[in-house]
Structure formats: C-alpha cells, structure tokens
C-alpha cells in the first residue's frame, strides 16, 4: 500500500462525499472529515493504523449517532449517511490491495447516491471528473509502476471506451415506470403556485426565478397579452384568503364560437400539485387529465417528475354561456360584515351604470385613475383588507387587484371569480421556446356576463399594462427587489443564460426525461418493431456483446495479423490444401518431416513434395533466398493437385 495510492483513494472518496456535505448532519460531516484527515496523517507519518477495538467503538458510536439523528436505520437518507460514514471508517483498516478494491467499489457506489439529490448537468460533469479520479486510483492499484500522467491517460481511455457501452445501456435498458429509488429532492420542491391566495402570496412568489415550465409553440406564438396560463380557479373569499371552495357540480364545461386555435407543448417542472397549465381556454391535452367545470386541467396524481404534454387551446371563445344558477350564486358570495366602504362603492357604481360592461369599465377606470400603484412591496392590510387597499394604501400586486376587483364585481351583482396561473414568459431564441418562471405567476379575474359567458378581466392591466405586455421587470420600478433573472440583465448575460437554459432543457427532455414513452418513440423511429422489454433486453445484450467484441478485436488484432511473407503464405496454403486431402501438417512439424510423411502416405506426391519442401527450406531457412527460387516455388505450389 503505497502512500500515493492512499492519497489517491482519499482524494477519490473526498470528491464523492463532498457534494453530500450539504444535506448531512453537521456531526457526520465533521466525523468524516476527521477520519479522512486522520488517515492522511497516518499515511504521511507512516504510523500504524488504529486498533480494532477503537474502530469498533467509533463504528458503534456513529450508528448510535445516526439513530439519534434520524430515529431510524432505514430509508434513503439514513442509508446514504450510513454508507458515507462506513466508507470513511473503512479507510482506517486499509491494509491490503483487497481493501483498496473495496474502497474503489464504494466510491463508485457513492457516486450513484449523489444523483438522489441532484441530476443537473453540473452534477453529472462533476461526477464524471470524480469517476476519472476513482478509475485512476484503480489503475494505480493494479499498475503501481505506471507514473501519474500515463495512469490518467489509461483511466481516460477506459472511460472513453465505456461511452459506447453506456450509450447502449442508456438507450435500450428497459425503463421502469415511476422512480425505483425515489427521485431527487428537487423533484418535490413545492415552491410554486398554491391553490390559495391571500395578500402577499404572489409578491412572495415573484421573488423566485425558478422555472415553472417551458413552452414550445407548434406554430406562431400568440400575442403576449394572450398568454394567460390557467391554474387554480378560486371561488370562496373569507375576507382575506381566496380558496377554490367546494361544489358538487361536475358538469363538463361548454365552449362555443371557438376560434384561434393554438397548439403547443409544455415541459412542466415537478410542482407536486395535480393541476396542469394550459392557455385559456383548454381544448385538448395529451396527458391523462380532466377539464373541470371551471376550466382547470387536473390529473389524478400530483406531478412529481418532469412532465411533458402536448396541448391546444382556443384564444377566442364563449365559455359556459348557460352557467347553472347555483354556480352563479357561488360567484356572488361575499364574506358578511366586511369591507363596508367597498360594498358602498359597488352599490353606487351599480346605480350609475347602464349595464354590466359600463360597470366593469368604471371599475377599471377607477384603478387606473385613482392613484393606484403596482408594487412588489405592498403595505400590510388589516381585517377589512379590500377597504384598506381601495381607500387607504392603494399599493398592491396582482393579487390585491384581482381580489378587490372580484369583490367589487360580486358586490355589484356581477358573478366573478379569481383565476390564478402564469402570464407571459421569456422567449429563448437559442432553443426556440418560452421559459415561464415563478416570477411570472399572476392572478386575474373572470366575470360571467349574459350572452358572453365567462370573460377574463385583468385589473392589473389597468394599472400596469406593461406587466401584461412586457413582463414584470417592465412594470415595477428599477430599484424594486426582484429576482435577478426577471430583470433585464446585460445582453451577453441574457444570452449566456438563455443558452444555458436551452442546454439544460435538452438535458431534461432527452437524458433525465428519457422515459418509457420517449424510449418507445425513439426506438420505433430507429426502426425497431414491436418494442417491449424482452426485445429491448435482447437488443441490449446484442449491442453490449457487439461493442465488447469490437474492443476485443482491436485489442487482439496482433493475433490476426496477416502473414506478409509470400513464401510462408504459399507454404501454409499448400499445407491447408493437403490438410483438406486428409494429410494435415502438425503445427510443430518441420517441412522435411512433413514431406517425408506425405511421401510415405501418398507416393505419387513424393517427388513434387520433396522438390517443394527443399525449395521452401532454401527460401525460408537458407542463407541466400533468391527470387528465382521463389518464383519456381510459388509456381510449383500452384501446380500441386491433390
């Protein structure tokens, strides 16, 4: 066990453990670091390894510590922690080459565990670098005399050789439906749109530049102010919070006079909720999802993995012209004894307006003209939240406007509800798709009008039209606290960011999202018929065998080196010819012995064979082989008839 091998292994283990440090308990990090440092010191100083009883004690202690920290010894998190601790401990009894081999296998295994936590491109690249270090240590173990540089080269070549095998396995390995081990934690991120809305909930969301979903339009994209991605619809208001409420009505929605169809595909980041986002109004979707009575697209299972679906919507529509009376009554409910000033204002508008349209316009004009401001940092609101906002603070984000607008409409006896979702998005011209971030989250209103059905009204557009037309950054003051990515950064940074997003989008769709359906589609396009796991397994075995055989051929090519010596080639040809006639030459049989044996077995060939063998001897073993003899020799061999 040389010092440099131990340091190589230490580096490898350090590299595979390091990304885990983020989510391990502090004491585990400290213990691992202490163990590795201790081992490095022992290797450097040449002192002997610690006694077995001490190691046993530390092992038992760490298992106890894990029990205290996690209250269990089962589960992914605990398993990984245990594995890391035991690996660090294994270093303390690293004596034999066999132990080093175990360390290398452990390192490879820990590499896989890192993907429980992140599967991004940087993680994959880092793990590749780690693998190179591990393989280099492995080469070191088996060929200690090779210096570092060629050792790295051997490891690199080994990794390169593994690429075709990896590709075959990746493309053909039968995919299991649903995650086998559980997915990275980031798959369960629950930041995102909720199905509740209270003052402040959207302004909080606007601080996140996380990607919500990405959209590719099949044809020309719609106008920006038509990009309303419909999410949860909220009916019930308790004076502060809007919720979807409960209803027994399950009647399917009715759309009429639809036009302006637009098709697109959405790659939705997992948000751990059941709803999907579609443009108003949803028409078709490829996923197994249901359109609810209030036009939300929901599926049975929450979205826990990245989900890709194709959908189409109609931008022009009449929705639910014949809405049931009970629904309209729901859309008129108000919390009792709250916001008296707002009720009064609505009653006045009602009295002044000729019809519903005029009333809506009055309301929007009110928002526009009465000194309302669109801000990310609205002041806190008290019990009469709508009153305080309308007559006091006059500063709000989209939820304030949507909420108070719907309140006013209901107070004026126009059925209304809040719709949440996303609005707009950022165009990535590298990838040709739109990125919709959490900061694009939005809330607007829908009112039901006679002969027109549910109509979308966005009160925010009345105060800050730029929000709808150009995005959040254009609508708020420059000094407002905003996610970096939602601002307008310098051009080069913007391009870099968009390029990077395009790459990771590919990675998400083709590497991480390579699921059963994609695999099926891809293999069918490759021309494989009847794709099932049996044929895939067979093809995989065949592909692996082919790749390995190719490598073996390249490595063993010297065994198949062609005989370049003309004399020898001709002689061997003659031997093969005679072998077919039942007189094979033993590999160790010299030309003279062979000629003599054939002469005994086939006297009619004796003279010819004697002549040929003597010439062969002269050519191959003689002092001065000459071309004349060679010509005669070749001629005679051609003339031999068996």
């Amino acid at each position: 066990m040389t010092k440099s091998l131990i340091f190589g292994l230490l580096l490898a283990i350090l590299m595979v453990i390091a990304p885990h440090a983020d989510h391990l308990p502090l004491w585990v990090n400290a213990l691992c670091a202490a163990l590795l440092l201790w081992r490095a010191y022992l290797a450097a100083s040449g002192n002997s390894l610690p006694a077995r009883w001490l190691l046993t004690l530390v092992t038992l202690g760490s298992v106890g510590g894990i029990l205290i920290s996690f209250h269990t010894l089962f589960g992914r998190e605990v398993g990984v922690t245990l594995l890391l601790l035991l690996t660090a401990l294994k270093f303390m009894e690293l004596r034999q080459p066999r132990d080093a081999m175990v360390m290398i296998y452990l390192a490879c295994f820990i590499i896989i565990t890192n993907f429980f936590y992140s599967q991004s491109i940087p993680t994959a690249l880092y793990m590749l670098a780690t693998l190179l270090v591990v393989v280099t240590a492995w080469v070191h173990l088996n060929a200690a005399r090779v210096p570092l540089k060629p050792r790295l080269r051997i490891a690199g070549v080994l990794l390169l050789q593994a690429i075709p095998l990896t590709l075959v396995l990746f493309v053909l390995f039968p995919r299991v439906q649903g995650p086998l081990w559980g997915l990275p934690q980031d798959a369960y991120a629950s930041s995102g749109l909720d199905d509740k809305m209270s003052p402040g909930s959207f302004s909080r969301l606007s601080l996140s530049d996380e990607v919500a979903f990405r959209v590719t339009y099949a044809e020309a994209p719609p106008r920006r102010d038509q990009m309303y991605w419909r999410g949860p619809v909220l009916w019930d208001f308790d004076g502060r919070t809007w919720t979807p409420g409960r209803t027994s009505i399950m009647s399917p929605p009715e759309f009429s006079d639809t036009a302006n169809e637009v098709s697109y595909s959405v790659t939705l980041e997992p948000h751990n909720k059941t709803w999907l986002f579609l443009l108003d109004m949803p028409e078709k979707i490829s996923d197994d999802a249901r359109l609810s009575y209030d036009f939300q697209m929901t599926r049975k299972e929450p979205v826990k993995t990245r989900l890709r679906y194709e959908a189409s919507s109609h931008l022009t529509y009449h929705a639910n012209l014949r809405e049931s009376e009970r629904q309209l009554q729901r859309a008129l409910q108000l919390p009792p004894q709250l916001n008296p000033k707002a009720l009064e204002l609505a009653a006045r508008w009602r009295a002044e307006s000729r019809n519903d349209d005029a009333l809506i316009n009055t309301a929007l004009r009110h928002f526009n003209r009465e000194g309302f401001r669109y801000t990310l940092e609205p002041p806190m609101l008290g019990v009469h939240s709508v009153d305080e906002f309308l007559f006091g603070t006059k500063q709000g984000f989209c939820e304030h406007y949507a909420s108070s607008f719907v309140f006013l409409m209901r107070a004026a006896h126009i059925p209304a509800r809040v719709v949440t979702g996303y609005q707009g998005g950022e165009y990535n011209d590298t990838g040709g798709y739109y990125i919709v971030r959490q900061s694009d989250a939005h809330a607007w209103a829908e009112v039901w009008l006679d002969k027109r059905g549910w109509v979308r009204i966005d009160p925010t557009a009345a105060i800050a039209p730029a929000r709808v037309e150009r995005g959040l950054a254009a609508a708020v003051p420059d000094n407002a606290a905003m996610p970096f990515m939602a601002r307008n950064p310098p051009q080069w940074l913007r391009e870099l960011r968009l390029n990077w997003d395009a790459v990771s989008n590919r990675w998400n769709q083709w590497v991480l999202g390579y699921n059963t359906e994609l695999q099926f589609a891809f293999l069918t396009r490759l021309g494989m018929e009847s794709v099932n796991w049996q044929t895939m397994a067979l093809n995989m075995a065949a592909g692996l065998g082919l790749v390995i055989a190719l490598f073996a051929l390249v490595m063993l090519r010297h065994l198949f080196k062609r005989e370049t010596d003309v004399t020898q080639a001709a002689w061997l040809k003659l031997c093969r010819k005679l072998a077919k006639a039942g007189l094979p030459r033993a590999p160790h049989e010299g030309p003279r012995d062979y000629a003599a044996r054939i002469a005994a077995a086939r006297p009619e060939l004796a003279a010819t064979l004697h002549d040929i063998s003597e010439r062969y001897i002269a050519l191959r073993y003689g002092e001065h082989p000459d071309t004349v003899t060679q010509q005669a020799f070749l001629q005679r061999i051609r003339a031999v008839k068996v």
């Binding site: 590999p587 010299g590 030309p591 012995d593 191959r620 073993y621």
Partner: protein, 305 residues
C-alpha cells in the same frame, strides 16, 4: 556429408550397435564445442562410446574414475619438490588432455566435481597461483549413474548447465544385442581402431559449424520455444539465454553433420531433447522420471512459425 566425419560415424556404428542417434548427438556436441554428459545405468556402453570417439577422432585421451575420495589435485595435477634441482615441478593431472572421460562423475564429492567443472568452463586451470591453459580442442565427457542410486552426489543444476547436452544410452534393441552378444569383445576392436581425423581437422570443422546459416524464421522458432518454457506452468523455470545459445549451436552442428549449410526446425527438434532435458524441471512429479518425454512434449507444444 564431410568424408572424415562420415568415416567416424561409420566406424562408431560398427562398434556401438543400434545407437546411431546417440553417436551423432555426441559428435554434434563435440562439433559445437560443448561438453557431454551421458547418463545411464552401468554397462550400457557409455564408456565404450567415449573410447570409440576419442580413438576415431585421434584425440589425446585421459580417463578419470571419480570416486568419493577423489581430490582436486588428482584431476588437475600437483607440484612436487625435486630434490636434485631444488625446485617444484608441476606434474599435470589427467585433465590435461584433449578428451577427458570423467567416469561416474556423481560418485565424487562436490569439491572434486567443481574442480572439473571449472576447468570445463574456463578452458584453463589455475594451480598454486599459476594459470595453465588446457589443450585445444578440449572435451569433457562425463558419465553419470542415475541419481537415485546409493552413494552419489548429484550434480547441482548450475553445474548441469555447463554440459551442452545430456544423452541417455538406453538398452540396445534385440537385434543389436544379438550382434553384441555374438560378436567379439568390443574393447579389442576399439584397441585396433585407426584414427580417421586429427585434432587440427576437428578444430577446423568446429569453425565451419559456426558458419552454418540461421535464418530469421528459425530464430523465431527458437525464441518461440524459449518463450513457451518461460510462460508455461509445466516447468519450474524457463530456459535461460545460455540454453537458447546452446540449442542453436547444437542445431548448427546437427545440420552440419547432415551436410547442410542451413539450420532447419527439424535440426532444432533433433537436438532439443539432448540440450534441454537436463535444464528443464517439470512441475509434475510423475513426469520427472522420463525427461525425454518432457522434451518431446515441448516440441509438440510449440508450432513452427
């Protein structure tokens, strides 16, 4: 076929009946300037072969009977004080001859054995500080009883390596034995033999043997044999480079005896049992009994490239 050698062989075959191969191997060994070890049971004609060769080749001949009380001085010679001249005068031992028969070499103590073997290696002896050259040509033919007999000191492997070849006589076949039994006493015939050559001619033949051609293809074959012994698990150790040189030298001599000027794989195969069987040790205990079959297995295991 070179005439004097032809006569030598003919003469030897008349006396040593049914052993043409052993005679040729012994001659090849001498042409290749090597020493010969003959190993077999007493009475199979070892000593007779040596006598015949010495006589027909016209070489000075000395015989040393090795016994357990033989001293180095008995081989090398001794300085004796001459009273009349008041000087030490060196009395050369039996080693100072062109052909020395070390009979039953494994009966002597290692000390005496090593005196002989050093002379073989160096072609000279150092006695009492003075180095004395041995005559040329100089051959040692040692005979040895199989080592499992009682009261012997088997030669160590390092010493065995100094012999170019080791051959075994074997029992004569029935026809040869009948001729032997019915004919006259061999010793009488030997005494009447006429030399067919002299030592100067032999030295010249040795020079010509060195010039026998060896082609790259044949070197490939020899190397393949060496490599096989080193890679195979059948042997304790592979053949040394010296063994490879010996094999080539013996094959040259064999080709020369056959009247050819180029070495064939067959020549290598012919001398291989003699050259390698005392240098290879089988890892298989049972195979040790028959070293010739070991050599033949080696021949069959290596393909001629």
């Amino acid at each position: 076929m070179t005439h004097p050698l032809h006569n030598v062989i003919t003469q030897a075959e008349q006396i040593i009946l049914g052993k043409p191969r052993q005679i040729r191997l012994a001659l090849a060994c001498m042409l290749a300037r090597g020493h010969l070890l003959i190993e077999d049971l007493p009475g199979v004609g070892k000593t007779t072969l040596v006598h015949v060769l010495a006589h027909t080749l016209g070489l000075q001949f000395q015989r040393i009977q090795f016994t357990s009380d033989l001293l180095p001085a008995d081989i090398l010679g001794v300085s004796v004080y001459q009273r009349d001249t008041s000087e030490f005068v060196f009395h050369p031992g039996p080693i100072f001859a062109q052909m020395v028969l070390a009979d039953e070499v494994n009966r002597a103590t290692p000390k005496a054995q090593s005196a002989l073997l050093e002379a073989m290696e160096e072609q000279q002896v150092t006695i009492e500080g003075a180095t004395r050259a041995l005559p040329a040509p100089f051959f040692v033919i040692a005979t040895q009883n199989p080592t499992h007999q009682i009261g012997t000191f088997p030669l160590p492997e390092s010493q065995l390596d100094r012999f170019l070849m080791r051959i075994q006589m074997g029992y004569p076949d029935a026809q040869a034995e009948r001729g032997l039994l019915s004919g006259v006493d061999r010793r009488e015939i030997v005494a009447q033999l006429k030399p067919q050559m002299n030592s100067a001619e032999l030295l010249e033949l040795q020079q010509r043997v060195k010039q026998v051609a060896v082609s790259p293809a044949l070197l490939d074959y020899v190397q393949a044999i060496l490599r096989h012994t080193r890679e195979s698990t059948l042997y304790h150790h592979g053949l040394s480079p010296r063994a490879g040189l010996s094999l080539l030298a013996a094959a040259r001599a064999w080709a020369f005896l056959d009247g050819r000027n180029a070495v064939l794989p067959e020549d290598v195969q012919a001398v291989l049992p003699g050259v390698v069987s005392h240098r290879l040790q089988s890892t298989d205990e049972r195979a040790k009994q028959n070293s010739d079959s070991l050599a033949h297995a080696l021949i069959e295991a290596v393909a001629i490239p």
